[in-house]
Symmetry: D2
Subunit: 149 residues, 4 copies
């Protein structure tokens, strides 16, 4: 795994402040659990309110947490004053999202001045079992600071 | 646009019953507004509970409605006893999801016995303005009935 | 379909000159057949040299022409001095690439100062039959001119 | 990285025979260099015949080798009598494809009776430098044997 240097000493605080300003994360019940340079974990406890017709968590809720995890992984490496936007993502759903909780991990693969490419993964946890439920490949964009969209 | 023949006379009722069994759609406030053979519309009124850090609707909520629209577009053409699963999707976010309401349209491009390919689009409506906010290209899978995953 | 205004009067010549400077297109035998503002067609005659193990044209050759068609569709709307790069694309393969020739159409859906989103489609032609073989959703980037990557 | 058991003792021979039956790989000059259960490497020497307008290898040629690498990674785990088809893929281009040779690695992330999800990566080698040029996330399908498309 590549490792990266943050451009600001307060990158953890900046990520936390932005995450706390995402009402959808509260609506879903998601929590920000890890912030490292270029790596962010978001955890989502199972809730029946988030399910689809078979009782599993809906792909849209799973995508929401891994999109935010990838976006904040990118944001953790951006300069002061920058904002992050999702340009696009692709998600493969590998297994039904069945479990007690779901951990989305977003990782920067290649940071850039304008575009940052990330990979994300969501794991379902049920007792001692762990199962990958989704894989994401995403492009994030830096706006503000030195660049403009 | 290609047009398709449903395989069951009660395809509208089957889609509605399955949509009503998706608690996430209720949690988001989404409504099923159109069901035609291979075409489904889902509408989402703006709610501050669904936003991200800039006050726009989060890409995850937008993805949730267009994933369901594409999935049900595919499901509308499937035989009795079949279930639909999302295999994968790719979403481009074209404009900030700002508006009074959002209409996701899912369309079947190529139905298949196992896999169905769909395109989706989400439009933001604000007064008389309409703006495309997201494009989806997705693969759906038929399970149950004659096939097994 | 949205229509667009080119930013330069010589957009056709600029696209043709760049296409002619892509040796891979010659290696594959591909021809640029239509250039309109935001829309480009590239045609590829069948050749056994381009096939995969079942005798159909390889997905990589099909992707090559639709990537170039989308890239040049984006480029046709860019200012003088700009260059175009492919950021990413997603391709669904709908039918085996069997036919006498293949027409890739790339269309701009949303042009932007930095990023342009395109959709592409490849159709196989065999006698009077036409069959869609691939769908692309792609992000292109303008570099040079007023922006820098 | 997960590891997998092949279902047939002759999986290497089956992959090699199928690769040798892909004329496009010969046309591009690509070679199959590694076949392990669920992992395949394909190498492509630089050739001016494969370039785009800036002198780098065209994204279509890069996609061709990583699509074949992912497809054969999936195929290496399939039963006797099966064939593999690419359902879809998504490619991010991270750096210009500049180098003396390019190594595409395809890896199975989740094998399945019908669908297999893979990740791929293409690295450019120039002297002692190595640089990732492309990332793929792909869905492959087993046809023939116990399943039918």
């Amino acid at each position: 795994m590549p490792t990266f240097e943050p451009q600001t000493p307060d990158y953890v605080a900046r990520v936390r402040a932005s995450f706390d300003a995402q009402p959808l994360m509260r609506t879903l019940g998601a929590m920000l659990t890890t912030v490292e340079p270029g790596v962010v974990h978001i955890e989502l406890p199972f809730s029946a309110a988030l399910t689809q017709q078979h009782g599993y968590v809906h792909a849209g809720a799973i995508t929401s947490i891994v999109d935010s995890a990838c976006g904040y992984a990118a944001f953790s490496l951006m300069p002061a004053g920058a904002e992050v936007l999702t340009v696009e993502f692709k998600v493969n759903l590998l297994n039904p999202a069945r479990g007690e909780r779901f951990v989305a991990v977003g990782r920067v693969i290649k940071p850039g001045r304008t575009l940052t490419v990330c990979q994300g993964e969501v794991t379902a946890l049920a007792g001692k079992e762990r199962r990958t439920v989704a894989l994401m490949q995403a492009t994030m964009m830096q706006v503000g600071a030195s660049n403009r969209a």
